[in-house]
């Protein structure tokens, strides 16, 4: 944002004064808003010691850590499976044979159109209906895998398609087979351009583990509800959710920073071909990230 924006020129003295006034006014406005929220918290006793003191205890911290661990475990397993799922279905979609292409396209499009929660319900209720006990972890993981795997398949496909066609042509011209073209020429180039988008999708996956809350998988948010629902501590929902929210923001933020850093780093490497698939700036990504 340091260089000139599309919308306005570098400000002159008058514009600078106006911007300064607007800046001060907006800071005042935002501070006032935050102060009002803070006062509301204070007024309703959210800062009372009783509501916060249980967080001093190792037992409660262990509970939170256990929840965090459950969240990370589900996210980790689902991430690995989703990447595999994505790789398999992306290669099927890139295949020359329609026998592979058509079903893969159908699956990927279908799972992207079904709400994740419904996929998780499928994973949870349906095996139970047929008398097959399934751990809630796996119900959650299956849902996450199907949805995020489908999105990742699209990222992979777009990444490979983004490598200029001349690369493929050249590779074929020197006598490489299709498999070799994909493995030796396209993937290494595409991978670099896809990485930021992949990491962004993994942040989404991590966030979506919170849906486990609805099928009572004991992840972080669920643990938060247990802690927040303790009558004896005056139902400390507000402090608990603030803490849980901070944990989510910290973890997802770290991953986001990693994605941003990766993008910067990859951007500096002299490219032979292929644009880096923008993780943050292309509008399409905003749709994917949700």
């Amino acid at each position: 944002m340091s260089q000139a924006s599309v919308l306005y020129d570098l400000p002159g003295p008058k514009a600078r004064r106006r911007n300064a006034i607007l800046g001060v006014a907006s800071i005042v406005g935002i501070v006032a808003l935050l102060a009002y929220v803070g006062w509301k918290f204070y007024e309703t006793g959210q800062f009372e010691a009783r509501k916060w003191e249980q967080f001093q205890y190792a037992a409660v911290q262990r509970e939170l850590l256990a929840g965090l661990w459950a969240t990370l475990k589900a996210a980790g397993i689902a991430a690995v499976l989703a990447l595999l799922f994505g790789a398999i279905f992306a290669s099927a979609r890139l295949s020359d044979r329609w026998v592979l292409r058509a079903p893969a396209t159908f699956v990927v499009e279908l799972f992207r159109a079904i709400p994740l929660l419904i996929l998780i319900f499928f994973g949870y209720y349906v095996p139970l209906q047929y008398g097959w006990a399934i751990d809630k972890l796996w119900a959650l993981v299956i849902g996450l895998m199907l949805y995020n795997g489908s999105v990742l398949a699209e990222i992979f496909r777009a990444g490979i398609n983004a490598v200029p066609y001349g690369q493929t042509e050249g590779a074929y011209a020197i006598g490489l087979r299709k498999n070799q073209v994909l493995r030796l020429i396209l993937l290494p180039q595409a991978f670099r351009s896809m990485l930021p988008a992949i990491v962004s999708q993994l942040v989404v996956l991590l966030k979506d583990t919170a849906l486990g809350f609805i099928i009572t998988y004991p992840e972080l948010l669920f643990v938060g509800k247990q802690i927040g629902g303790r009558l004896a501590f005056g139902l400390p929902y507000v402090p608990t959710y603030l803490i849980v929210g901070a944990i989510y923001i910290a973890i997802c933020g770290l991953l986001s920073i990693f994605a941003w850093w990766l993008q910067r780093r990859l951007g500096r490497i002299p490219r032979t071909a292929g644009e880096v698939l923008p993780a943050q700036d292309a509008g399409e990504d905003a749709g994917r990230m949700i």
Binding site: Q46, I214, K225, C252, A286, M289, I290
Partner: protein
């Protein structure tokens, strides 16, 4: 197979009410997040650093928070602050607050796709800010914005199901009612899936169409 159709016909009112509420929730939150998101987007492309920073903070906080947590905070946390919001309204607010961050990003990146030279040339011609915005920047930016904006709203339509965990009878809440009625869950879920496909596929088709049509023009 007969069983499969019976599940729908026997519980028709539940499905109808559920999906009606889903669509209502979607439309209200879509308008809400478009308004809030545009405001935030304007903040993020404004010349005032303080506004830019607060817009960015909002986006970064919300984007890294699970929607389920936003819901939980509104339903269990906010009432503790002596603010009483109805469940349906809470769901609308949660979806709006969350989706606005993504709408904001779409708008910001849409504006940024327009080459700086375009606006510079326009200003060199002596156009005012309003003219530059309405005649030069927006017509080009909107084309870049519409397809991703549609993916944001498609995602939001799917996200309405989360309200099920927070006492709103919408499509995502149907399974728990049905398990109370002892209906086979597979059929129940399949019908919900079909319902969502009916809602979403036209949107996806429209999005693809616009994307293809305008990609050439760009």
């Amino acid at each position: 197979m007969g069983e499969f159709f019976r599940v729908l016909t026997d519980n028709w009112t539940l499905y109808r009410d559920g999906f009606t509420n889903t669509v209502q929730l979607f439309l209200i939150a879509a308008v809400g997040s478009l308004v809030l998101g545009t405001l935030l987007g304007a903040m993020r492309v404004s010349p005032v650093p303080a506004l830019r920073a607060s817009g960015a903070t909002y986006v970064n906080i919300v984007r890294n928070t699970p929607l389920t947590l936003v819901f939980a905070f509104l339903v269990f946390g906010v009432p503790k602050l002596d603010v009483n919001i109805d469940y349906f309204d809470s769901a609308c607010i949660a979806l709006t607050v969350y989706t606005a961050a993504f709408v904001c990003e779409v708008i910001r990146s849409g504006v940024n796709t327009v080459g700086t030279g375009q606006a510079e040339a326009a200003r060199a011609l002596g156009m005012t800010f309003a003219q530059v915005l309405t005649l030069i920047v927006l017509p080009q930016a909107l084309r870049a914005m519409v397809p991703p904006m549609m993916s944001v709203f498609i995602a939001m339509l799917k996200n309405t199901t989360i309200a099920a965990g927070f006492s709103v009878l919408e499509a995502g809440a149907i399974p728990s009612y049905m398990s109370e009625r002892g209906e086979p869950q597979f059929a129940v879920l399949l019908w919900i899936t079909i319902g969502f496909l009916i809602l979403i596929l036209p949107l996806v088709a429209l999005q693809r169409f616009l994307e293809r049509k305008w990609r050439v023009a760009r």
